[in-house]
Amino acid sequence: MATKHTLTFVLMDAPFESARTTIAFRLLHAALDRGYDVNVFAYEGAVALSFAKQAQHPNAVHGRDVAQEDHPLSKNWIAALMAHARTRGADLKWVNCGLCVDERGVGEAIEGARRGSPADCWKMAQQSTATLVIPTK
């Protein structure tokens, strides 16, 4: 039986601002695909990744309505990965830095994402095989 690892990722970028967000989610998927448990500590702008009120929009430049544009929303990415984790016998824990949530007014997070603190980040890292911080620029 393959060894079960836990990996922690610390994210900082807000959605829709950087290529780092896509790479981060690809890493989360890759880790969950292997059946690893994954912790995410969302710090600074990254706390908006799980904001429940993100909404899709049409794209008039391309002549696409809302449905056709099918705009990615990071909250849906998180939900999809949480579901994917379950199919792989793995767990995705998503923790938002609470003070970062407060200052940005993004307290309404999707189900499964919870509020936490830097102490959670430290604890998750201690319990992991490895931790990767993906800093903002």
Binding site: H5, A19, I23, L27, A30, A31, Y36, I134
Partner: protein, 108 residues
């Protein structure tokens, strides 16, 4: 000795940071550690054959594995056949694999 996976996301023609990553990779290797360099995002712009020479050439002259994210390459129209000598296209799993093996992954 611990392994280090240095992840370079920045265009080497944009700032000196990518050069510093290459320098660090060489120093860590010289200190006896296993080292791999994983280029991602605009960091892969250094590896199109024909690109101006950078500090990456010094890394390619060592035993450090240099990998380039296959998605980032494709996104930028860089075919695997047109990579600088010694660079290998690799899936993002390469990062996860090394993290699971206890390597220290450091992002720039």
């Amino acid at each position: 000795m611990r392994g280090y996976l240095l992840i370079e996301s920045r265009d080497p023609f944009e700032s000196t940071g990518a050069a510093r990553t290459c320098e660090l990779a060489i120093q860590l290797r010289a200190a006896g550690h296993d080292v791999a360099l994983f280029l991602v995002q605009n960091g892969v712009l250094a590896v199109r054959s024909g690109a101006r020479r950078t500090e990456l050439d010094k890394v390619l002259g060592t035993k450090i594995e240099v990998l380039a994210d296959d998605f980032s390459l494709r996104e930028r129209g860089i075919a695997p056949a047109s990579l600088s000598g010694g660079v290998k296209a690799a899936p993002i799993d390469s990062v996860v694999e090394r993290m699971a093996a206890g390597w220290n992954a450091i992002w720039h």
